[in-house]
């Protein structure tokens, strides 16, 4: 499929803006998870500002596409996208994590419009996504379900239980996106618990796989469209990414998994992110 230059440029800019918003939120609160938020910026931008069939004016529309942030700690990249679409006011981002605010440290479906499922402890998204797909089938709806998972998250056994369920029931309306940034909380994935060969793992579980550069908007868009064409099997998009992408001192560093930048670091990060031209 061809995508216009304008669309790609627009989504690249959106992704970069999401990064700025996410870091502003994390810096403002003094808490949060920058690494895995920044690695998912293009994926979230492509989904929310182009691909998903959603309507912010009708957050409960029965036939809307569903997105589950299974790696819930990365919500700083999702909240500004939801605000940007009008699910709630931009100003709410400033109250993230305050007592009484609707934006929780990890996504809360009962508090925040646009959040389909409460997450924060890892491994739940694929099984829940499979359940949503089965429900769509029973109700005669044709929505698609997207689940963003972390690579560290793929170490949890419960995730693979969902992978098998989705394959058994041939849930082709389920697309998992693996934010393959190769770093988890305690260090590099290879050192903590190796996942490779990851593509073969998903394939041997009867999923279709598409491997892409997760920071290339065009490749993300193509993969999302291709995944929708697959029949009889769920698809996983293995998106190679960089943890902390866009901020030199955060890139590939486990230290930046879950800590906020101080004032100087934040200023430096903003400088780097705004310097990039498209």
């Amino acid at each position: 499929m061809a995508y216009s230059k304008e669309l790609i440029k627009e989504l690249e800019e959106k992704a970069q803006q999401l990064r700025l918003d996410a870091l502003e939120m994390i810096h403002h609160r003094g808490q949060g998870h920058p690494g895995g938020a920044l690695s998912a910026a293009e994926i979230i931008a492509a989904l929310f500002f182009h691909h998903l069939r959603i309507d912010p004016d009708r957050p409960n529309w029965e036939n809307r596409d569903r997105f589950i942030l299974s790696k819930g700690h990365a919500c700083a990249i999702l909240y500004p996208a939801l605000a940007g679409l009008g699910y709630f006011p931009m100003e709410d981002l400033k109250n993230w994590g305050h007592i009484g605010a609707h934006l929780q440290a990890h996504p809360d479906r009962l508090k925040t419009p646009g959040i389909e499922m409460t997450t924060g402890f890892l491994g739940h998204g694929i099984s829940i996504g499979a359940g949503l797909c089965l429900s769509a089938r029973l109700k005669g709806l044709d929505y698609h379900v997207y689940v963003l998972v972390g690579d560290g998250e793929c170490q949890s056994g419960v995730l693979w239980e969902g992978v098998m369920t989705a394959a058994k029931y041939k849930l082709s309306n389920l697309t998992a996106i693996l934010d393959y940034n190769k770093v988890q909380l305690d260090g590099p994935l290879n050192k903590i618990m190796p996942l490779e060969p990851i593509k073969e793992k998903w394939e041997s579980f009867n999923w279709k796989t598409i491997e892409i550069d997760g920071h290339n908007i065009k490749e993300v868009l193509e993969a999302l469209d291709k995944a929708k064409e697959n029949k009889n099997k769920p698809t996983v998009i293995i998106a190679h990414t960089i943890k902390g992408k866009g901020v030199s001192f955060m890139e590939n560093k486990a230290e930046w998994h879950g800590k906020a930048p101080d004032d100087n670091e934040y200023a430096q990060a903003v400088k780097e992110l705004t310097a990039r031209s498209f």
């Binding site: 609160r29 993230w96 994590g97 007592i99 402890f121 170490q155 305690d186 486990a254």
Partner: protein, 323 residues
């Protein structure tokens, strides 16, 4: 105010120290080593340290295997995450009575900043319901330090709770602990507060406030929720005739419930519970604020004592009328 010390750091350092004297100790963690501070042990004893990645359920079973082989595994993750391994813990640790030590970090609301998914307000209830499982909630950094050895040497499964926060130092190095034995921290005649974990320091503060108002409060540190020191509870009920429990946990199933069960059976007296009501909390910017907001403030303890005393006095009034 007493000096505050990071208890997760204390735990991590003590575990590494204890590893030197006990070669059977092994440590497992599920990708939260930097959070729960098992890095000190990993550095000293890399061959006895296993980071299994994000795999809590499997980690517990692996620890069971290590225990069957004669090692003493300390299994580490967030308190809330042990719930993912509840069946493994029930069947393979508690029922099979394997010598596994579960250390629930980031307990209570101490991971205030990560919100309700990461808060843990039900772990004591769940663990306490399992036969063969001891449940320990230390009240200060010294107690955390002393519990590492006590837990390792206790025969059989133990659940040890450690917070993320800095805790005020209450005791000194002469502090004696024994799993299953409560500690009288302050003597008093009119009412007894039974507390553990972070609430102990808050209760001691509340006792000061109450004593200034002329109320004489006994404070008990019930660091072991199971096996419960029933004789101390009974003795306190007889002596003071009113009990308040305080814990950083749901009021359903934790220390307060355990004390209520013991009182009901042995010596019923008016009881008030301080803890988190039957609700999930929310994300906050500050730990103390969150505790205050959800009913665990010093003022809440004071009020609970006043309530229980009113009930006690009403009871003795009606007893007198009967006479």
């Amino acid at each position: 105010m007493n000096k505050k010390v990071s208890v997760r750091k204390t735990y991590g350092e003590t575990l590494a120290e204890y590893g030197k004297v006990n070669p059977d100790v092994v440590v497992l963690v599920a990708d939260v080593s930097s959070s729960v501070q098992t890095g000190y042990f990993a550095k000293e004893f890399p061959e006895r340290f296993f980071n299994v990645g994000i795999a809590e359920a499997g980690m517990v079973d692996t620890a069971v295997g290590l225990a069957l082989g004669g090692m003493i595994p300390f299994v580490n993750t967030f308190a809330g995450l042990f719930l993912r391994a509840t069946e493994q813990i029930r069947t393979c640790v508690a029922y099979a009575k394997t010598n596994v030590k579960l250390v629930g970090g980031y307990a209570g609301l101490s991971d205030f900043k990560d919100g309700p998914t990461h808060h843990s307000i039900t772990d004591v209830a769940v663990m306490r319901a399992m036969p063969n499982m001891a449940v320990v909630v230390p009240g200060d950094p010294i107690e955390v330090k002393k519990m590492v050895k006590a837990v390792a040497e206790y025969p059989g499964p133990v659940y040890l709770q450690i917070g993320r926060a800095d805790m005020p130092v209450i005791f000194d190095d002469n502090h004696q602990i024994k799993i299953g034995k409560g500690v009288i921290v302050r003597e008093g005649e009119e009412v007894t507060i039974i507390a553990n974990g972070s609430m102990l320091a808050r209760c001691l503060e509340a006792a000061k406030v109450l004593s200034n108002e002329g109320t004489d409060v006994r404070v008990i540190n019930m660091h072991t929720v199971k096996p419960l020191d029933i004789s101390l509870i009974k003795e306190s009920a007889e002596k003071t005739g009113a009990i308040v429990t305080a814990e950083e946990h749901s009021v359903i199933g934790g220390l307060g419930s355990a004390v209520a069960e013991a009182l009901g059976k042995n010596y019923p007296v008016p009881l008030e519970q301080v803890g988190i009501a039957d609700t999930f909390a929310e994300t906050a910017l500050d730990y103390d604020l969150l505790l205050d907001h959800y009913g665990m403030g010093i003022n809440d303890i004071v009020k609970a004592v006043q309530r229980v005393l009113r009930r006690k006095n009403a009871l003795s009034h009606s007893e007198n009328l009967k006479k």
